[in-house]
């Protein structure tokens, strides 16, 4: 049951309707954007609920139970509540910066999905620089956090914003180097090609010894740091900075940050699944189901981290990135290059 066939069928119907080709393509693109947006909106709502359930069961609680079966409507209701809330803008904020920060956060979070293959042929645009695009566009998140931190005119928010900028910049570097080792091996930056190069399970990059698992772990750690989740949740460290960069936000603006956070969580997991776990490849089940299984498995791992680990301190965070992860990532890249170069070393 491949979704591609449905979309192909719809596209052909549209093309046969006699509209000019450019208009057909435009409609198809807009439709694709809406489909991705809708998918992510539902996914974010689901993840919020899931996170609450996972955390509750880790902590020997039940979590939401009253609204719907095991509380599945809870996040929908929460979202409606946040939509209705008064949007408070404190008097002392830098208005344009304060206003735009959540919008930038959400846009950056969604834009990454242009190049993520959701299944066989299910990709909005298979750019030849796909992975570079993702790395670039997700970095916009820092700008939004900095904007929120600076624009709020609040000391906690400022500290949170500064922390997040320092953190994301530091962890971006080992992450990119870790991804680079995959790119070296796949010989392409296109997400489609990277997935195609791991069609058998032993070809998944996580199983390509010795560089694969190391790159995966570096990516996982850096990804956790990028999404500001425990043990790297310093920008919003509740016990230190109260709420960090989003302390002054309320109503829908707060919801947008929240939304962006969970979309980012799924992004990191989806990229991990695509780069290291064979993307949508898998037997028996349709490709998009494999993609969802792998991504949500990664999401669960990240949630597990969050509810188990304590939080690092700022200096330890920096040290870990620059003194440990980055050198390791470079060594790993060299190993990957050598393996690629000496073909007999490859299987």
């Amino acid at each position: 049951m491949e979704l591609t066939n449905i979309f192909k069928f719809l596209y052909e119907k549209l093309a046969a309707s006699g509209l000019p080709q450019t208009l057909v393509d435009l409609i198809a693109l807009i439709a694709a954007a809406f489909i991705v947006f809708g998918f992510l909106a539902v996914m974010a709502l689901f993840l919020v609920w899931w996170e609450r359930k996972v955390s509750a069961h880790i902590q020997q609680r039940f979590g939401p139970m009253r609204t719907g079966w095991h509380g599945w409507i809870q996040t929908v209701v929460d979202m409606i509540k946040l939509l209705q809330k008064e949007d408070i803008t404190p008097a002392a904020v830098d208005r344009p910066v304060f206003y735009w920060a959540p919008i930038v956060a959400l846009t950056a979070a969604f834009a990454a999905y242009v190049v993520i293959p959701f299944g066989k042929g299910l990709i909005v645009a298979d750019l030849n620089i796909g992975i570079l695009f993702i790395v670039g566009i997700t970095t916009f998140t820092i700008i939004s956090l900095l904007m929120a931190g600076w624009g709020s005119n609040n000391k906690y928010a400022l500290l949170g914003g500064m922390r997040s900028a320092a953190q994301v910049v530091s962890y971006e570097v080992p992450m990119v180097v870790a991804i680079l080792s995959i790119v070296v091996f796949a010989g392409s930056m296109s997400m489609g090609d990277i997935v195609n190069s791991q069609s058998k399970i032993y070809e998944w990059y996580i199983f390509r010894l010795p560089f694969g698992p190391i790159a995966f772990i570096i990516y996982l750690i850096a990804g956790t740091a990028e999404t500001n989740r425990t043990p790297f949740d310093l920008p919003e460290a509740e016990q230190e900075l109260v709420a960090g960069f989003n302390i002054e936000y309320s109503g829908m603006k707060f919801a947008m940050f929240f939304f962006a956070e969970f979309v980012n969580l799924f992004t990191i997991s989806a990229i991990a699944a695509t780069l290291f776990l064979g993307g949508w490849q898998g037997p028996f089940l349709p490709s998009w189901i494999w993609f969802l299984i792998k991504s949500l498995g990664m999401v669960f791992v990240l949630m597990w981290f969050r509810w188990t680990f304590p939080r690092l301190r700022v200096d330890q965070l920096m040290e870990f990135s620059w003194k440990f992860l980055l050198p390791l990532a470079f060594v790993n890249l060299i190993i990957a290059g050598l393996m690629k170069y000496s073909k007999w070393f490859n299987w």
Binding site: S55, I58, Q59, Q60, R61, K155, Y156, L159, R163, T230, P231, D233, L234, A237, E238, Q239, E240, L241, V242, W307, T308, F309, P310, R311, L312, R313, V314, D315, Q316
Partner: protein
């Protein structure tokens, strides 16, 4: 932004009184250079209840419920200190059952207080799930409070001259359950925290204080013993029959947050040992001393005998009058040395009650612990002192 003497531009940050990790309404005025703390000033008084002054207007036995509200995480310890001080003033000797029950319950209180501590401390460091695990175990102890006194938090179970009621029938079973469950759960905690790289990184070498400094600052309790100073009121100056029990006083070496954590975890185990001994050796006998006019007569007698009714009536309305004089009684509360100084002028109300609060004294060392550290260390340090603002402000 403002300039310091060295020309650095610093930022003043008011941490608290409304802050998720200052354990109540503590306010710490931090002067920050980036994330480094240049200067820290704790500001207290947001939870001032005037308990000491209030006591002067109350009959002696009416002070006991107020003591619960000081260190609300260790109500039994507070009751014990006050009751012991007055019993010293009155020269009362407790029957063995009272001694054993009091020791057992105050040690359970110590466990409960330390459990709350380990939960909130781990929460401060970001390990959120620990809080719920610790509260789950504390619940067992709270159930015992409820069984003996009918109250879950403000138990007010100890009375001047004994206990409020006899121990309930299923008391043994409940305590045995605690003795079985908590040691296993402690192992889980230790697996979760002791060797956790991040937890160790956040606590080892953080907020250090040497043994000499700790003594000079007047610190007591686990924070003092974490620095390697062997001072525990239970051993140094035994009260309430603590010399009859066999237990060790755990000591730390480095005086950092991690050692304080280890000391508290070990204290829980030692307290469990004491509880076990107290439960096994629990003697039969009266739960109150025989002292008419000081201790309420049994309810059956009040309803059937005239003298008892008169005693009851007089005690409730007029209280009792201890002799003139002053008395100081210290106990080892979960937080440190908790002392009650009571001055009596021979009337039925205290002339002055002064509490030596461990939390207040321990908190005074906070600037010393955190200046030069990072904002994140401030949280770790506040947590490691284990303050309860109700007691700091009284």
């Amino acid at each position: 932004m403002n300039e310091t003497a060295t020309g650095k531009r610093t930022m003043i940050l008011n941490m608290g009184p409304q802050h998720p990790a200052t354990h109540g309404v503590l306010r710490v005025q931090l002067e920050l250079d980036g994330e480094t703390v240049v200067k820290a000033t704790p500001v207290i008084g947001y939870l001032h209840t005037g308990i000491e002054k209030n006591a002067e207007a109350k009959l002696y036995y009416k002070v006991i419920p107020m003591t619960d509200r000081m260190d609300y995480l260790a109500p039994m310890s507070n009751n014990l200190g006050f009751c012991l001080a007055l019993e010293k003033l009155l020269g009362l000797e407790m029957p063995p059952k009272v001694i054993y029950a009091r020791v057992l319950l105050t040690e359970l209180t110590r466990i409960a207080s330390h459990l709350v501590w380990v939960g909130t401390h781990a929460l401060d460091l970001g390990a959120m799930s620990m809080l719920l695990y610790a509260f789950r175990e504390r619940e067992l102890i709270i159930d015992i409070y409820e069984a003996v006194s009918g109250q879950r938090m403000m138990s007010t179970y100890f009375r001047i001259g004994g206990l409020a009621y006899d121990l309930p029938e299923d008391f043994d079973k409940k305590v045995k359950n605690i003795l079985k469950v908590i040691p296993e759960r402690l192992k889980d905690y230790e697996r979760l925290l002791n060797d956790n790289k991040i937890f160790r990184g956040r606590t080892i070498g953080v907020a250090k204080i040497s043994g000499d400094d700790a003594v000079n600052c007047g610190l007591t309790g686990p924070i003092l013993r974490g620095s390697g100073v062997n001072y525990d009121v239970r051993k140094a100056n035994p009260y309430c029959g603590y010399d009859q029990f066999d237990f060790n006083v755990p000591l730390g070496k480095n005086g950092d947050v991690y050692d304080r954590y280890l000391v508290r975890m070990e204290e829980i185990k030692q307290s469990l040992r004491i509880v076990q001994q107290a439960l096994e050796g629990m003697p039969e006998g009266p739960y109150q001393v025989h002292a008419p006019g000081i201790v309420l007569p049994p309810k059956e007698d009040v309803l059937s005998k005239m003298e008892s009714l008169i005693f009851h009536f007089k005690l409730i309305t007029q209280g009792f009058t201890p002799p003139r004089g002053a008395v100081y009684q210290a106990i080892e509360s979960p937080k440190g040395e908790l002392g009650y100084y009571i001055s009596s002028d021979g009337t039925n109300k205290p002339h002055r009650m002064r509490v030596r609060p461990p939390c207040f004294v321990n908190l005074s060392v906070l600037p010393k612990l955190i200046e030069g550290g990072l904002v994140a260390d401030v949280i770790a340090a506040i947590g490691s002192i284990d303050i309860v603002l109700g007691e700091v402000d009284r």
